[in-house]
Amino acid sequence: MSATKPLLEIKNLKMHFPIKRGIMGRTVGHVKAVDDVSLTIGEGEVVGLVGESGCGKSTVSRCIVRAYKPTAGQILLYDAHGQAVDLASIPEPDLQPYRRDIQMIFQDPFSSLNPRMTLRQIIGEPMRNYKICRGKELEDRVAYLLESVGLRPEHMSRYPHAFSGGQRQRIGIARALALNPRLIICDEPVSALDVSVQAQILNLLRDLQAEFRYSYLFIAHDLSVVDYICERVAVMYVGKIVETADTATIFTDPHHPYTAALRSAIPRLNPRLRQLPVPLEGDVADPANTPSGCVFHPRCRFAEDRCRQDTPAMTATAARHHARCHFAGQLDLSGHSQPAATA
């Protein structure tokens, strides 16, 4: 377990996309894709970020790599001496030296590789950019990286179209490793892969982490994948983190009603343990038009008047366990996860 030094600290991050209408591009509202997210990732720690489609997971990751300039908040990156820079606010040209510390692995193995470049060019490009090496040395390093992700170095002159989805994902991983980053953001790295190939990639990511002690921010909508790879999990709902805890406890003892519901909605892999899902009513809230008070209140079976008015804050409910609920730690959430009798 990690009582380690923090590597990245996200504080009150907000990313609101303006909704524009008409020819003059008048702003008529905002999509609150990320609305007050705070999260710390320690050195060598693997943190999972889970939530349903559209809850803002990718937006968080894109803010970290500054694909978007956040609306508000801080993203502090600590160096080895504990000095921090705020990636959310420094000007674009000054970002260059910090970019190499944070790399990204994408969901779609097809769109994330330039089809017009060979593996040598794709994996060599980051090292070229930072003038780390060139010529023969570069080639050797590309070969080494290919080997470490389980591809054959002699395929270096091939183009991505020569590879299957799983192999392309390995290429993307090799590219991310090229700069020896400290943090790797994995945005649903296995969701687009064939089921029989997912385990290969998950194992690869786990082995690499064990060997090089990378920190991962591992984004997924599949709780079992997160359970397999992460030490700590943050659950997101409509732009907000609603619960964080160690993986071991979050699924056995959730403290937020949404986490409990999410967990019970996932079908078990056991035909004798048939559980009639107790589905959540209604749909995920629209981030352009969020409910007042607790964003979860329209679907929460514990909601009270207070929930409709006051926005709950993140509160500690146990050691290393936080939940964003007025009644965090006081609710009996076991009903959500009780298995029904065998069908």
Partner: protein, 342 residues
């Protein structure tokens, strides 16, 4: 019990510019009344093509080249593959006796008509009742699929509904004529887990109520374990294992099934145990491996046999079949016993 639908040695080929794709190679199975049969397999293994072949809506250039699909209706036994593709008989069966729901609900509905109109139309077409009667039925069925405020929803257009609501509307349309068989092609794959849970619950309840059979197509084994009575595991156009759901999870025989089950992470298993992965990738449908289609990735691969002979479907017991030479008497003396342990 008499089967409702029997698929026998079905073969569907696509003659494309690049070559022949044997999308469905040799698929046989049956569905009894009120039963849920799951077809599980990875992307591209031919699940959708097979389902469409049953309803005779294979997209061009696909063609059913062999096999029968026997549908038992009112004591009669109709071979659906023998019917004329666009003829009145198959159209009468489609939608009324056998209904289908798709992964992409948006593609099922026309964007220019309201939800209510489209469901009404289906009811009028198959039941020949008047507009008022149809509307009453539409409201009733929308109510039954748990649609909030049906009387308002019927005036909405498809793009005004969320994914989950649209999926409910599609189920409502499919069930409007009380089909005996519902083919559900990955009905929850595009949905979030909480919405998926809603839809699965709904299908489960409706099935009980209407006593209808469901052919449930998915690539998600956990959904299978919660939902199916029987399972057909497909790989590259073939059914490789076929049995009841308990046996499949507790005593799988085919190396592909075993490997697949071991490669799926499970909640609660934690970080301790390492996943067993399957080597390689799904082959390109244009370049099928020789012999057993799974042999380049199989842990129990028997050199000299698996890469040369196409395994037959072997009866493990009365209700359990696997397409693997390990269980073929013919080769029993040549197979090393270690192969079974993996």
């Amino acid at each position: 019990m008499e089967p409702l639908l029997e698929v026998k040695h079905l073969k569907v080929h696509f003659a494309t510019d690049e070559g022949l794709i044997e999308a469905v190679r040799d698929v046989s199975f049956e569905i009894k009344r009120g039963e849920t049969v799951a077809i599980v397999g990875e992307s591209g293994c031919g699940k959708s093509v097979m389902a469409r072949a049953i309803l005779r809506i294979v997209p061009s250039p696909g063609r059913i080249v062999e096999g029968r699909v026997n549908f038992h209706r009112g004591g009669r036994n109709i071979d659906l593959t023998a019917l004329e593709e666009k003829g009145p008989e198959i159209r009468a069966i489609r939608g009324a006796d056998i209904a289908m729901i798709f992964q992409e609900p948006m593609a099922t509905f026309s964007p220019v008509h309201t939800i209510g109109n489209q469901i009404n139309e289906a009811i009028i077409l198959h039941q020949g009742i008047d507009q008022a009667g149809a509307t009453a039925q539409t409201l009733d069925i929308l109510n039954r699929v748990g649609m909030p405020r049906p009387s308002r929803i019927i005036h909405r257009y498809p793009h005004q509904l969320s994914g989950g609501m649209l999926q409910r509307a599609m189920i409502a349309m499919a069930l409007s004529c009380r089909p005996q068989l519902l083919i559900a092609d990955e009905p929850t794959t595009a949905l979030d887990v909480t919405t998926q849970a809603q839809i699965l619950r709904l299908l489960f309840d409706l099935q009980r109520e209407l006593n209808m059979a469901i052919l449930f197509i998915t690539h998600d084994l956990s959904v299978v374990s919660q939902f199916a009575d029987r399972v057909e595991v497909m790989y590259l156009g073939e059914v490789v294992e076929s049995t009841d759901v308990i046996t499949l999870f507790e005593d799988p025989k085919h190396p592909y099934t075993k490997a697949l089950l071991n490669s799926i992470p499970q909640t609660g298993a934690g970080r301790g145990q390492r996943l067993q992965s399957i080597a390689g990738a799904i082959p390109n449908p244009l370049h099928r491996p020789s012999g057993c289609l799974f042999h380049p990735r199989c842990d129990s691969f028997q050199p000299g046999i698996c890469d040369q002979v196409s395994p037959k479907e072997i009866n493990i017991d009365s209700d359990h079949r696997a397409r693997c030479i390990l269980y073929d008497q013919q080769y029993s003396d040549k197979v090393s016993s270690a192969a079974f342990d993996r």
